[in-house]
């Protein structure tokens, strides 16, 4: 099976260190994810791609008990707040080890999201790694 990203340009793994790829505006400093070639805050085109922080904290979460296009129920998703002051929507895994609480430290991983006939579709997930509450 070939590993393919669920969408292109959203994340990378360099020397085993995964990161989401955002954009940062050179004019107003706004960080966006997914990356944009124009800053949506000030419309400046002076934007560069940046690797976002791997660690963040859980802003909120829910477990969904109906199927989505790719995920059988139940699955857990949430918003993770990164130090760049943006929120990332993501699948959440590993909550069996650390029951989720708002403010919990979360870490980014690149994992298989689902499989289709030919490919292993990979993407980003966040996991609670220590159970530590950051707020």
């Amino acid at each position: 099976m070939t590993k393919v990203p669920f969408q292109k340009g959203l994340f990378e793994e360099t020397n085993g260190e995964p990161a989401l790829i955002g954009s940062k505006c050179g004019s107003c400093g706004q960080v966006l994810f997914p990356a944009k070639s124009v800053c949506l805050n000030c419309m400046s085109t002076d934007v560069e791609a940046v690797r976002l922080s791997r660690d963040g904290k859980l802003y909120t979460f829910t477990t969904v008990y109906m199927a989505s296009e790719h995920f059988p129920p139940p699955y857990t998703v949430g918003w993770i707040e990164l130090p760049e002051d943006i929120r990332i929507f993501s699948q959440i895994r590993g909550w069996q080890d650390h029951p989720l609480k708002i403010g919990m430290r979360m870490r980014l991983y690149i994992e298989t999201l689902w499989q289709n006939e030919d490919n292993e579709v990979i993407g980003y997930v966040f996991r609670p790694t220590t159970g530590e509450i950051l707020r």
């Binding site: 669920f6 959203l10 997914p34 477990t63 109906m66 296009e69 699955y75 993407g123």
Partner: protein, 381 residues
């Protein structure tokens, strides 16, 4: 700008009617509104017709069956705010003097829509959609954080649903017409934790219509015209500008625009139909609409102030939770409900001496935006 008044309203019963075409629902509501206004189909000079899940020129098909052809018809889509948008556009065409009399209609068949029995996902290509986002999950995420920060309990949130289902029991247009207890709501099927089935609106079909004219002309048709004191549509800002996902900035801005235009404040509102797609939304909207300060919203509910017998009844029709939520019809139906209240025609759900009412709809999933749009109307007699 001329003052604009509503002289006729009509609605289908809300419920599950998979055997009915969208245009049949639309035609039925249109005919009811024409009859209520006491006018003929040929009196209508223009129409706005809101629908999301049907095909092309749905409005022409509905109006054809109501005897209305050979006029300017515009089909409108703005998600859950579609109906409010149709009313807003009709308001403008009369306020500006372009036309003298027109109709705004909203119609939707959710049971025959592609999303029947499903959770509504974002648009194709949005990464969050691929990762399992849907409209209910979005509000479950908001509710989880809201409960965590405010200490509001699931039982208190469920009380919104109890109240609105109680109101819906005596509204002949309502879908459910059934009482539920807090336990019923909390123990119903869990869909997006902590949102259970009965904290959510259901799958509903229905249509509603309102006939508008200038206030001067309205006096020829009725002794009790209902004046549109404010009509506001506003799109959502970038999500990265929303500091707190439990507070709808677009609702706050939209309603403040409306209060300014109408020259009145929240203290002057006698009843409100607001967008309770999920029970938690109603508590959050109390704050954004200016009915109370943050932290006082549960008191407003639990003390009975927003009950149908309270000082400020909210969703006396049963709201989206009980009356139902056929997306594009909702904004028009809310206005029809307020018109009946202000005319004293709301039957056993009548609020005594209501002089001013507020209608609020919020909707649409767009990646990177807080929401698609908000619609706010203030009506008065």
């Amino acid at each position: 700008m001329r003052e604009v008044a509503i002289i006729g309203v009509g609605s289908t019963v809300f419920g599950k009617f998979p055997e009915k075409a969208i245009f049949e629902l639309g035609a039925e509501a249109t005919q009811a509104a024409l009859k209520d206004a006491g006018i003929s189909p040929e009196d209508i000079q223009f129409a706005y017709y809101a629908n999301l899940y049907g095909g092309m020129v749905e409005g022409q098909a509905a109006l054809r069956d109501a005897g209305i052809t050979d006029i300017e018809i515009t089909n409108v889509e703005n998600a859950c705010t579609g109906g409010a948008t149709a009313v807003r556009k009709a308001w403008y065409d009369i306020a500006s003097g372009l036309y003298d009399i027109g109709i705004a209609i909203g119609a939707e068949s959710m049971t025959t829509s592609p999303i029947a029995g499903k959770l509504i996902p974002p648009a194709k290509g949005d990464p969050s959609g691929e990762l399992g986002m849907n409209t209910m999950a979005k509000f479950a995420l908001s509710q989880r954080r809201y409960m965590d920060i405010s200490g509001v309990t699931l039982e208190q949130i469920a009380t919104v649903s109890v109240k609105n289902h109680h109101n819906g029991c005596t509204n002949p247009y309502s879908q459910y017409k059934k009482e539920f207890s807090v336990e019923d709501i909390v123990n119903s099927r869990l869909i997006c934790d902590p949102i259970t089935q009965l904290q959510s609106c259901s799958t509903t079909d229905g249509a509603a219509a309102v006939v508008l004219t200038s206030l001067d002309m309205a006096r020829r048709y009725t002794r009790k015209p209902v004046i549109i004191a404010a009509s506001v549509i506003r799109s959502g800002d970038y999500a990265f500008r929303q500091k707190d996902i439990t507070f709808s900035d677009v609702t706050f801005k939209g309603v403040n625009d409306a209060y300014t235009i109408a020259g009145i404040g929240p203290e002057d509102i006698n009843l409100c139909e607001l967008h309770d797609a999920f029970a938690v939304n109603e508590l959050q909207h109390y704050i954004e609409l200016g009915f109370c300060k943050r932290g006082e919203e549960v008191g407003l509910l639990m003390d009975g102030i927003t009950s149908i017998t309270g000082r400020l009844p909210v969703n006396p029709s049963g709201g989206l939770l009980s009356k139902g939520h056929p997306l594009s019809a909702t904004g028009v139906a809310q206005i029809a409900e307020i018109v009946w209240q202000l005319r004293g025609q709301a039957g056993s759900n009548q609020i005594p001496d209501a002089r001013a009412g507020l209608a609020h709809t919020l909707g649409g999933e767009v990646a990177d935006l807080e929401a698609g749009a908000v619609g706010v109307h203030i009506l008065k007699v």
